[in-house]
Point group: D3
Amino acid sequence: MVYDRMSDQPAFTSGDTYMRVPRVATPEELLAERPDAVIVGAPLDWATTHRPGARFGPRAIRAASNLRRGAYHLDLQVYPFKELRVVDYGDPEIAPGDIERSHAAVKRHVAEVMAAGAVPVVLGGDHSITYPSASAVAEAIGPGKIGVIHFDAHADTADESWGVALSHGTPMRRLVTSGAVPGTNFVQIGLRGYWPPDDVWRWMREQGMRWHTMEEIERDGLSAVLGRALAEVHEHAEAIYLSVDIDVLDPGFAPGTGTPEPGG
Amino acid sequence: MVYDRMSDQPAFTSGDTYMRVPRVATPEELLAERPDAVIVGAPLDWATTHRPGARFGPRAIRAASNLRRGAYHLDLQVYPFKELRVVDYGDPEIAPGDIERSHAAVKRHVAEVMAAGAVPVVLGGDHSITYPSASAVAEAIGPGKIGVIHFDAHADTADESWGVALSHGTPMRRLVTSGAVPGTNFVQIGLRGYWPPDDVWRWMREQGMRWHTMEEIERDGLSAVLGRALAEVHEHAEAIYLSVDIDVLDPGFAPGTGTPEPGG
Amino acid sequence: MVYDRMSDQPAFTSGDTYMRVPRVATPEELLAERPDAVIVGAPLDWATTHRPGARFGPRAIRAASNLRRGAYHLDLQVYPFKELRVVDYGDPEIAPGDIERSHAAVKRHVAEVMAAGAVPVVLGGDHSITYPSASAVAEAIGPGKIGVIHFDAHADTADESWGVALSHGTPMRRLVTSGAVPGTNFVQIGLRGYWPPDDVWRWMREQGMRWHTMEEIERDGLSAVLGRALAEVHEHAEAIYLSVDIDVLDPGFAPGTGTPEPGG
Amino acid sequence: MVYDRMSDQPAFTSGDTYMRVPRVATPEELLAERPDAVIVGAPLDWATTHRPGARFGPRAIRAASNLRRGAYHLDLQVYPFKELRVVDYGDPEIAPGDIERSHAAVKRHVAEVMAAGAVPVVLGGDHSITYPSASAVAEAIGPGKIGVIHFDAHADTADESWGVALSHGTPMRRLVTSGAVPGTNFVQIGLRGYWPPDDVWRWMREQGMRWHTMEEIERDGLSAVLGRALAEVHEHAEAIYLSVDIDVLDPGFAPGTGTPEPGG
Amino acid sequence: MVYDRMSDQPAFTSGDTYMRVPRVATPEELLAERPDAVIVGAPLDWATTHRPGARFGPRAIRAASNLRRGAYHLDLQVYPFKELRVVDYGDPEIAPGDIERSHAAVKRHVAEVMAAGAVPVVLGGDHSITYPSASAVAEAIGPGKIGVIHFDAHADTADESWGVALSHGTPMRRLVTSGAVPGTNFVQIGLRGYWPPDDVWRWMREQGMRWHTMEEIERDGLSAVLGRALAEVHEHAEAIYLSVDIDVLDPGFAPGTGTPEPGG
Amino acid sequence: MVYDRMSDQPAFTSGDTYMRVPRVATPEELLAERPDAVIVGAPLDWATTHRPGARFGPRAIRAASNLRRGAYHLDLQVYPFKELRVVDYGDPEIAPGDIERSHAAVKRHVAEVMAAGAVPVVLGGDHSITYPSASAVAEAIGPGKIGVIHFDAHADTADESWGVALSHGTPMRRLVTSGAVPGTNFVQIGLRGYWPPDDVWRWMREQGMRWHTMEEIERDGLSAVLGRALAEVHEHAEAIYLSVDIDVLDPGFAPGTGTPEPGG
């Protein structure tokens, strides 16, 4: 019935799909489609400590994606959406203001994509979503088997933010402390500025985490740094989870980001 | 196949539905749903003579509509979407920059809704869309049988705008000259300011068109004027086509309108 | 020490004061100042279900307030800040993303103002703050003794929002169900549009809540309605808590509001 | 002919005169044109005490004016630009940051319009421009002979603003103290809010200034108040200078104003 | 003299020519001025397939140009407007919504500049204007004699956009198929991303068109690529038409562009 | 008393502190704190010749600074605010619209910081503030003893701007002509575009001023240029005054700057 259907998700969730690939609505449809890759939205921002708004991210990315019509990549000379079967699994049933339940919904959604044998592509949302999302992937692949390449201005390895353990400043810490991803399997790229404080750096070193600062990129070039990062992550990991925080870019290129850090 | 599907409409068309009512994609599905009312988008603005952007209107209205969750109207004490079966028939196949083909697509889309026995609700787009949309309704109901109640700051009865016959300044003229709606069947509400010039006023009088200016509304009140308008339109018409140009509101309430006219 | 001091509150909290009244930092200072009225910020928005941003509200209101220099009210012919001793007690120690702890901090802050014998003036923040704030006042005055006059487009009497009990849609429900304010002591002004659904209306009637819709205001005038509201609230209450949701205004006057409702 | 000339291109094309009336560049051209009314820009805002930007006012008003193409007023049934010969005399030679020299330039420009026997229409700019502009008119008409009807949220009768005698808060004071316009010849409409303080009110009363607050307009209606204002100003004045500060409107209708005052 | 004239008022004052060079209104005046270069506006955007607004481009460029007061270039140590006689020929008589008539008007305007023996500098407007503008130049210089250096993120060589042959995605195709500019005479710089599809690439290769991708610029540097481009264009052409689409820049530098393509 | 306190500065001045360091209110408190560095605001923009707004600069910088919580710099591995004692001395008593009095207030404020033996960090405000600020430093250090490293798109060495000697285009000229800083002690970095004209360049050469254009930076790299600049400034100066105009950055990174100059 129409009324029930339209009332089941907050207004900021998306009804559109990424690049107009087909929408799948249920785990059964997902399995039946046998997709190579699956788009998932994670429209939540109540784990941010400064400027919110990322709850509108998945909707905005989906709307903007439509401009990439046809999608033949000129340097690669490939039609990605012809080579791969891609569907959009929509947004999970997040609960505005409730981080734990929203994280659980994201994790369940990503786990269903993994169960369908597809690569999940998660559109955020604040960066706290990496904890449930990468956890679901780690559980599907096997404990300690995935590596994380993490593009960000900040390490996101706080133990808590004003007492909140699941904030946008803590996802990488949670992945380590929960056992989903060992510290040795992390390579961070683009760090700069004034975070984290030295006790967090100490903890990161103790875990065997590795990073490449923006200063290193400016000195040696992006290609060299990417080469090092890939070599490092492959020392320990069988599969790679790629996490991109938009604030790795300079705010001149992404003025809406919540915790802008000049110099990306 | 995914590639074909996603490339068939411009990026500014909508993938979402109004208030999350079900989407129907084909005339067959439309007939099968037996709806009471059908949402149609008309995302075109290349018939405007000043500030464009209304092509994003249907997408923006659909996104904003989701906030009306549940939709129990407190004064009327009714659930409109429980009383009526409503579906969204998406956007017709408009062609950016080609007014004639875009109008033909709008007309066809609305005609299909009429054929399904439902009330069309068209989301614009610039006001030129009233010509194809009301024409489709007039053809379905019968020549001379519909009346038009038209809320607007401007009469939209020019014969042409810089030589363009199908501009956003001409739809009411086209409806009259094409025979779809006789001048006697028009009642305009909210006119004010500096348009149209006196030769257009003369033509309007000759056609038997009627109007109520914003000055009349301020003097006598909106209720009184609405009463007069309804009485007038029912003198000649069996059915009413309601046309609302957002610039009937003062620009303070709709700052994005293309041809703002203070005083609404 | 400088470092500790600057790190104890999120960046969106305020360092400035309302209309440049003196800042007081501790409960002891508050008592010593013997103020008539005390400004309190409640910079939280993680209990919103749509557009966030109200966490910047207290800072923005304080900055804008400075324009009211001198503050002689021309119709009242009075200098409010000469007649009354007003201080700004800053923002409580909210925790971004944690509604319960943030509410507890707001409640404690307002309770301290009540203990100082002053009238609290709380700057939000999303409307969920009315629950802790009015609870603190009710506890200080005595159970069942305060009335609430509530200007809003929405009744804010949901039992939960997507399962969240302390959301911006529930504060008036929580005040009733917690016993802080009986339903008979509520008078709501400005309701309109599509919320709440009929089961919530039924609950409101059962509690003896009263309301005046925007339709009533348009028909009878604001003065008449205010007279009725004051008479009603005084039937049961010894003191009045005034709660204003900015969305009681039409979005044309407050375009940044999170859940805009036309017609205020 | 003026009307034809200004109607030949869309409003968004480039053009720098008000409604595309002819530009005149020198006093000699001005005299030769024998205009009825003359547009003058006064692009200065360095006399503001809060949000600047009004220096872009004349350019923005001229650009926006082009939308009023043809300019037949539907309620008045008149083509103002056919009835009156109007030209645009451009902007005087203001000096950014130097109030005195800029005021002198405005005064000289307006005096030249008066010498041409035309009505000056001055586009601001901050409200300080009323001092040089009305002074030029008063000198041309004769001392004590003009009245000022002044629409504004604020009385603009301060003696100085942070020591600055020619600020946007002082023009009416300067007109009185310089002898250009006696206090008895002022009627102010729309005053509200928190300015001026009581010593300024006292001075205004001593000068015989009169005013009508926004509260009076809300109570008695705009028509009644305008009637009173016109009667009052005609008691003493042979000619009327009309001064409109955009902040007389509620900020909902003019969000860019520099010192917003709700309630207009 | 041009330099003195344009430097006599601040940039924010009103004025409608590029850098305040003299305006010429008729072909006769144009010939009489014997200019070296002539500014032409082409304010049309109804040939765009996504975000419109470029119709305001010529006005905005002219307004912004005033800031370059004096215009002594410090690296070149030259006053361009002293070395060259430059005038502004205004905008042609475009027709909003009618691409063909608007293109014809642009072509006629540019042809008149060529007839005056001057270099046209055309301010857009959407990129479709390159078709009429470069056609006028090609006709004046001689068939096959001009080369086009084209800075853009996109090749703009579609055969049609949703059936529209004169869209902003097709001007380079039209120049080739009309015979105005042979494919061999094109050198494109800055291409990247997801357009055009492979059949269009094939057509471009068949025509002998050449291009330098942004990837090549990042690898070899802009100087090297410009050197190659100039060498290539001079193989076939006697004169060069330079075409710059603002979206060749990253959207961080030109956020208002209609079809943003990251990476410029 | 509250009323007096809140009325003594314009609304756009700051009540907050930079990075929440302690506020000091009087010269006596300043001396007592024995700070290493002192923040000073200079909220004035009435010396600008184009887009104003920088008067809100100090308030905005202070609000944004709070995001740098903790402030451990990851590349330097240092807590600047633990190594140095920093306080915020607020804004001097500027007078909106009066450049001379505002400059005098800035100079006095900076002189008090120098008297306290601390390094002043001045937040602007338009660039005219460098004249009073660097003058105060030069007087404290001794005539001819300081050098100025000046990052800017423009040389700011005009003798006057539309007759105004203390504009944002003249501070470096004033420092030289007043004797505060000899021309030989200036090194400018980042110059580009169309200012100043050649007579000003000639004057700069005569004074022995030195500069490094953006073209030089693009050719040789920032590190090399900074090395040259430091060597040059140390030839003559014992202490360095660092002056940064935000327009040295490309407008893509600082879109609000008043006189944007592409290419930084």
